[in-house]
Every structure is written in C-alpha cells, then in structure tokens.
Symmetry: C2
Subunit: 234 residues, 2 copies
C-alpha cells in the first residue's frame, strides 16, 4: 500500500451519496415540510431526474448549473406527485435542500485525517455555490472545491477528471477519485486516475439497499472514508 | 455598521499583499538560496513584471495561468540580474515560492473570525492550484477558493467581481471585496460590490513603505483583517 499512498497527491471526492446522504436529507426535509407525498419515493424521483437532465444539457452543448437543473426537475416531480399549490418561495427554499445535505457519520473524520497527508477536493456535478454552502453547513474541510462548473462539463466527461490533474499540475496517476459509484470510478480510471470505491449501501435509503461488491479494477475498496484514511496510513 | 454587516453575505479577498506578504516571503527565499542578488530588489522586479504580463495576455485574448506568467517573468528577471546558471529544477522550485507565501500576522485570526458569519473566499489572479497550496501551507480557512482561473479573466476585469456574485447567486451588493489596493477596490465598486480597504504599509518591504490613506469611496477602511472582523461585529 505504501507505494500507492506515497504516489498520490490529490484525492478528489464524489459528493452526492459518497460524502453526504442525499436520500436521508431530502426525504427528512420533505417530511418536515408536511408535503402530502411519500418522502422516500419523492426523494428517489427527484434524484432520478438528475442523469437524464444532465444528458439533455450536454447533448445540446449547453451549460446549466445543477441548482437550475434541480429546480426544473423539482417542478416536474411536484406535478407528478400532484402537489400543485406549493408557493414559489417554498419551492425555492426546498430546492436549496441540496445545499444542506448531511454528511455520512464517518465523512468529516475521514476527510480530516486524509487532509493531513493529501490535498482533498470535491469533484461533483453540484455547482460551486451549492458545494460551498454544503461544506460550511456540514463542516467538510476541503482544501479546494472543484465542480463540474470549473470545467463546464458534467462527470463522466473526461475534462472533469483530467481537469483535477491539470488544476494541481500533476499527472493523472497522482490523483485518486473516491466515489460510491463504479461508473464514476470507471470513467476516472480511463483517464488514468487511481480509484477508491466507498461502500454506501443505504445511498437510496434503508428500504432500498444497493449492492456494494468490490470491483477488481479499483485501486482500493473501502467501507467508509475513515477506512480509506486507514488504508492510506492516515 | 449593523446594516452593512447584515447585508453582506460573501467577503472575497485579494491575496497577494492583502492576505500574504509576497515581498517578505520571496526576498527571504531568494536570500536563503544564496543567489548573488539583492533579495529586496529581486522580489520587487519579479512582482513588477506581473501587471504588464497579464495585460499582454489579455490584449491577445489568451488565457495563461499565473504560475506560467511567474515563470516567464522569473527567467527574464534572472537575466536582468545576471544570474545565468540557475539550473532548471531550481528555477521550477523557486517559481513555486508563490505557493508558499506567508500570511500577515493577523490574517488567519481575522479570516477565522469572519468565517463564522460570512462566506469567505479568495478572489486572486493566482491560479487555483497556487491558492490551494498556499491555503494549506499558511492555514487560510477559505470556504471556497475562487481565482481568475474560474473566469478566464484577470482582475480588474468585471467578469471576476461579478463572477463571485454569480457563483453564490447573490446581488453584487451582497459581496464585499477586501483588498490592500485602491485600484482593485475601485473596479469592484464599479460592478456594485461593497469594498473594504486593508492597510498593508509594508507590502513592498520595510524599506519601501507605501501610502495607506483612506479613500472615502470605500465602504470600510481597516488597519488589518482582524480590524475588519471587529468592524463587522465578528
């Protein structure tokens, strides 16, 4: 392990699902608002709109920040759940729930330990303002916030992974992407990055466990960010 | 003061001279290397190349990160000071001194206090990698690192000041620029930002004090970042 741990300079983290619990945070806030919907199903539907919305924007060759995509999807999901009467200011407020997502219990400790040895940054499709508010609210100790917004491309576009290496003037092999999604890691690996999988079996809620089996192609497989820190001698 | 303090959401900081002491750090490192030059004059000459180099890049409609500009200027300044034999690896190492600039004695305390109430970010012509290394080295507790590199324009281009407001989705009047340079503040003011001047009389060294008289146009005039925090009730 020592050789890998010594060679890496930067660890970039996927955020939604990897560092923060979007499903729990969104469904709790929806429940607290008293919306007449199933909070679990509502959170899943909102998140399900995310990938198709980004794909559409990329296909058109446009650039739209995630706050705006989240809002378009929210308005459609509210229609689908037959909530027609939510006032504009409450929609705007609810849309900002993505700025207030709560960290998994191990995230702050794990990042704090990794920060002593590595440059740690976000690499998320969330916009910079969203990620800044989230870090402030959740106490995430980033050295630097990097976002799809820095590169005007969403992950898994290669410009995002290679952009991290370019930003810090290092070879791609000196950057590790840590994520709870094998597809994100696979795209990073194709760009020459090292990869660490983080198990988040309840990303979609306690009722909807997801498989977290290792893929041999990843450089590391971790049960948490604290476990990743331990594996990297931090 | 309370109304201004309440209205601001984001404080963006100029970096070179305002938060860190480039003259002292560069001249100390040049002296420690044992280069056969006057360290004070060398630091001043290196920095003096900065504005013309940026102006040339902007005029050509190009974009070049500051690390690369610093290197071009360094090679020329070494020639001017008749240092012809500095090896490539030492040039590369010396060029990174801008990543290792030391903070003024009040910077970390002042920023830490302001961070409790405001979103604090950099707004510097330094590139993101430079600012990240500097923050890690100097312990600068940014919520977010913003750079000319985010906007592909150097200050004082309006895109940089307005870019801060756009990044955090607030009106320009809810952003304050803090800087030790009246020209930077004036450009920010034209974009609708609030402005705070920070006195740094020895930016160019103890031997070269600069005037730090207030300009009425600034929203605030501070003797240090700690004084700015005090004035904003932090």
């Amino acid at each position: 392990m020592t050789k890998l741990a010594d060679n890496i300079k930067v660890i970039a983290f996927d955020i939604f699902g990897t560092v923060v619990d979007w499903h729990g945070s969104v469904s709790r806030e929806v429940a607290a608002m008293g919306l007449n919907v199933d909070p679990d199903a509502f959170a899943l539907a909102w998140r399900a709109g995310y990938k198709p919305a980004m794909a559409e924007v990329m296909q058109r060759g446009e650039w739209v920040i995630l706050d705006d995509l989240h809002r378009r999807i929210l308005d459609r999901v509210l229609l689908d759940f037959e909530v027609d009467d939510l006032p504009e200011d409450q929609r705007r407020q609810l849309n900002l729930v993505w700025h207030r997502l709560e960290p998994w219990p191990d995230s702050v400790e794990g990042l704090t330990r990794l920060k002593k040895r590595y440059t740690i940054c976000s690499l998320s499709n969330g916009n910079i303002g969203l990620l800044t508010d989230m870090a402030k609210n959740a106490g995430l100790p980033w050295d630097c916030i990097l976002s799809a917004e820095n590169f005007n491309k969403y992950k898994p576009h290669p410009d995002t992974y290679l952009g991290v290496a370019r930003t810090f003037a290092v070879e791609p092999a000196r950057v590790m992407l840590a994520a709870a999604h094998h597809s994100d890691l696979e795209a990073a690996r194709k760009c020459g990055l090292e990869t660490a999988y983080i198990e988040r079996p309840f990303e979609y809620g306690k009722q909807n466990p997801k498989p977290v089996a290792p893929w041999d192609a990843n450089s590391l497989h971790s049960t948490s960010i604290v476990d990743l820190a331990r594996q990297l001698d931090c």
